[in-house]
Symmetry: C2
Subunit: 508 residues, 2 copies
């Protein structure tokens, strides 16, 4: 069967990923190291993610703020573990002026900053400093804030959406009076991410706690949602951290409690980024390009008129215009439907395949025969081909299509999720009890899934030994799923009594 | 009369401005040079500005994208005038790693970038480079894109919202086949800014062309909207630039025209920033704090229950909850009304004055007596006091208030604009014909308005002489209003035949 992309997932998953990004006009290299240009269709998906996630963040009582892009070095010096975690990948501003020298622009030596500034890799330190100003009494708690921002981590090997030097994200930061409240917040936001990823982006995930070696620098506990890509690899798609008093000690976030004595606040932070779009591509894409779940699709229905530069064209355009207008009056997922009439000057077949590659959930074609019969030709992006391998374009009465459009969009959303969920559930081996079996499982196939194994939760050096062994097999510990069965056997790594089950997989 | 702020506009406009920002919890100094923390109420206003302006930008056919924060030096070197305009105020990234040295964090000398990167002060160069990849044929034109982003200009003297080293904005960038189309775009976006400022933010403005000396570096023509603050000063609140082929030459944005030959594209750019919030404060604020026009108010109606820690409290809270629910079901300005029940643990009077200072358009108080009588006590922020100087709190039947809430919000929006419009129109002197009279006008009062004077539109050195004379009087040329009368007399500066009328004023 011929497909719209020149490379398939089977042939070369990595090249396929780049091809989807390019052919769907999602993003491109910018000429600036490690930074991408996010094009309208890619940015439109991000705007949908922002709108839906922002509403969920606000519904849980958080307010949006904006904090500075630049962070003085001294803020990092206050928390050793945090700076160690980020110092290797920071972009540092050292000058505030350029001059011409020998016909070239160079930083002006006379405009060297006294204290260099770091371009934020994350904002715990600068937001902690603000919290220390805002929090005086228990009455000021909790502080529940969030920001949508760009951050920079100077990655050595970059891949669009998955790992870029600059990326876009939201970062939530909160301060609480007690450990219990802060832990409740940490878990609440993890659940916001899980439900958002599954319900809006259609990404089934496993929510759980990261092992010690994978914690955020400075965190007491880190939780993640892990999604499985079609090559079986794990993508960490969102994290929620309980930070304890690490940052309140460093930044002096103290409050007077109800009894009148001073306490350190308990803080949390949590983030989800444009990496989510990488996950969406690798979970829902196929050999014809991207498939965007309707809830996050910039346009859910695209209408392509089949024009022939003759007298019929005006009638076709009128017919399409009315169709788009009636679709835009509908609601789906409790929002107005987003339909587009694609009037660009190009051949209908070119436009059809363009929208297939972009992954618009429903593509409608309308030619003279459709107008005469009162019909439309409907392509569902989630079911592109018939059993015989031909394009599955269904001719439907226009009125019937409009009446059923909401249900069809909801069905596409559900079917994309169900496909991915079936793949995830069917790709986690829960029966592996020895390291040899673990090794064999990951070597048995070019695209293994994950293994959920029992372990004793070693710490420190014992954990480091486990991590190194896994590294030799190109494996990583993903998380300890919240909903895993209790341990009832031996630790696969140490042979001792297991205390919980941990996910092992290859990762992005 | 006693007011909520400790300093009045009359006493010290600049101190009053800072007091409004602080007392309304809009923003604060961040501890990072020239960068502010935008707090939830300030950021909420920005989110409203974004939502309303973004819809207008999209309605004119533009799509959102995202381009890199960092721009290589070499991009600037290609366009001399542009780099000259910005080189003095650029933040420059020179290193990508930190190391510990003598117990301090310093940029790692081994991690020095081969080519330093500039933190974008504006994105013409990096977006121009993308346009050169995207544009091949006349069929690819126009390219109509916009981005919401943070930018950095290393300002020496900063003032919150008005001039900060980092600020938030949108920047539109477009490429066209012809000068006419690009000029049409430039004027269309100027009109988007004018109508947005007036209709949404309630800021009356004068739209016009900037004189040559005030052009954006690299622009062929720059247009602005100028708003008048309550101290009579002018604030440039949005700009739209016709860039001609300046950037398409530098970045090689060429297309094959319909006849098959190569042409340079004609480009435009246009921007509006968080400075708009500074304008909002200085146009609508009063001695009790901020007054936010309802269309951009994060909450339009705030309900404050007057609780007394007794049995009546539950009934009051129920009554308030129902009120807020019925308000939130209403529409105003074709959007759902935004009402909030303020349940925070504080005295009702403290909360009332908090919302007055924040400028919530309508503040409702509900006590036991109101519940018993089926009433609410209504404060309109635009008419805070009665003629006798007492707080104008009107007792109204709850049902009547709800029925009239949409009209009241629309009336507040209109009245804030009308007040400001009256002030603007009444503060432009159109009769001044000599430099002596001009000088006298600006010296006659501590808060002069503007003068619209006839001039010969001198250029080059002749213009520079005019600018220097004005500088001596602390005056600047604002713009040549689009709707000004034709010239019919002598140039106030040269005595020659005037060709148009130009606005003169003090500026921010």
């Amino acid at each position: 069967m011929k497909h719209a992309l020149s490379v398939t997932r089977e042939q070369d998953f990595s090249a396929w990923y780049q091809a989807v990004i390019s052919e769907a006009d999602l993003a491109e290299e910018s000429g600036v190291r490690g930074c991408m240009v996010i094009r309208p269709w890619g940015y439109g998906i991000w705007e949908r993610i922002q709108a839906l996630l922002d509403a969920r963040i606000k519904a849980t009582g958080h307010e949006n703020c904006y904090f500075p892009l630049f962070i003085p070095l001294s803020y990092f010096e206050k928390e050793a573990e945090h700076v160690d975690g980020f110092a290797k990948e920071m972009a540092v501003v050292t000058h505030h002026r350029l001059i011409q020298k020998d016909g070239k622009l160079v930083p002006d030596p006379d405009a060297k900053l006294e204290e260099p500034l770091v371009v934020r890799p994350t904002s715990e330190t600068v937001i902690g400093a603000a919290f220390s100003r805002w929090v005086q009494s228990w009455r000021d708690l909790p502080v529940l804030i969030n920001q949508w921002a760009n951050v920079v981590r100077w990655e050595m090997r970059t891949r669009m959406f998955l790992r870029t030097s600059e990326f876009l994200w939201q970062e939530g930061h909160t301060a609480h009076a007690t450990v219990d409240e802060a832990m409740e917040e940490t878990m609440k936001m993890l659940e916001v991410y899980r439900s958002f990823a599954e319900e809006c982006v259609g990404l089934p995930v496993v929510a759980g706690e990261k092992p010690e070696n994978e914690r955020f620098p400075g965190a007491v506990a880190t939780y993640s949602i892990e999604a499985m890509m079609q090559d079986g690899k794990a993508l960490q798609a969102g994290t929620s951290h309980f930070l304890g008093t690490t940052f309140s000690q460093a930044q002096n976030i103290k409050f007077q409690n109800a009894e009148g004595s001073q306490e350190l606040a308990q803080t949390t932070s949590w983030g989800m980024s444009t990496r989510m779009i990488g996950g969406l591509i690798m979970v829902h894409g196929d050999d014809d390009g991207l498939r965007v779940p309707p809830r996050v699709a910039p346009y859910q229905v695209v209408v392509v008129p089949m024009l022939r530069d003759n007298d019929e064209d005006a009638a076709i355009l009128d017919y399409c215009g009315e169709l788009v207008a009636s679709l835009n009056e509908l609601d789906a997922f409790r929002e107005p439907v987003r339909a587009l009439l694609d009037k660009r000057p190009a051949k209908a077949a070119t436009k059809r395949w363009g929208w297939v590659k972009k992954g618009a959930p429903i593509v409608i074609e309308v030619g003279g025969r459709d107008v005469a019969g009162g019909n439309v030709s409907v392509i569902r992006r989630d079911r592109l081909y018939r059993e015989d391998g031909k394009l599955d374009s269904q001719i439907v009465a226009k009125g019937d299509f409009v009446t059923g459009a909401t249900a069809m969009l909801e069905d596409i959303q559900a079917s994309l999720f169900a496909d991915a969920k079936g793949r995830l559930d069917g790709s986690i081996d829960r029966s592996i009890g020895t390291l040899d079996a673990l090794k064999a499982y990951f070597n048995a196939s070019a695209r293994p899934g994950w293994a959920l194994v029992q372990w004793a939760r070693p710490t420190g050096e014992a954990l480091e030994k486990v991590v190194q062994w896994l590294k030799g097999e190109k494996l990583t510990l993903r998380n300890v799923p919240l909903d895993a069965d209790a341990a009832d056997g031996a630790c696969i790594f140490t042979g001792g009594q297991a205390v919980e089950r941990v996910l092992v997989g290859r990762s992005y």
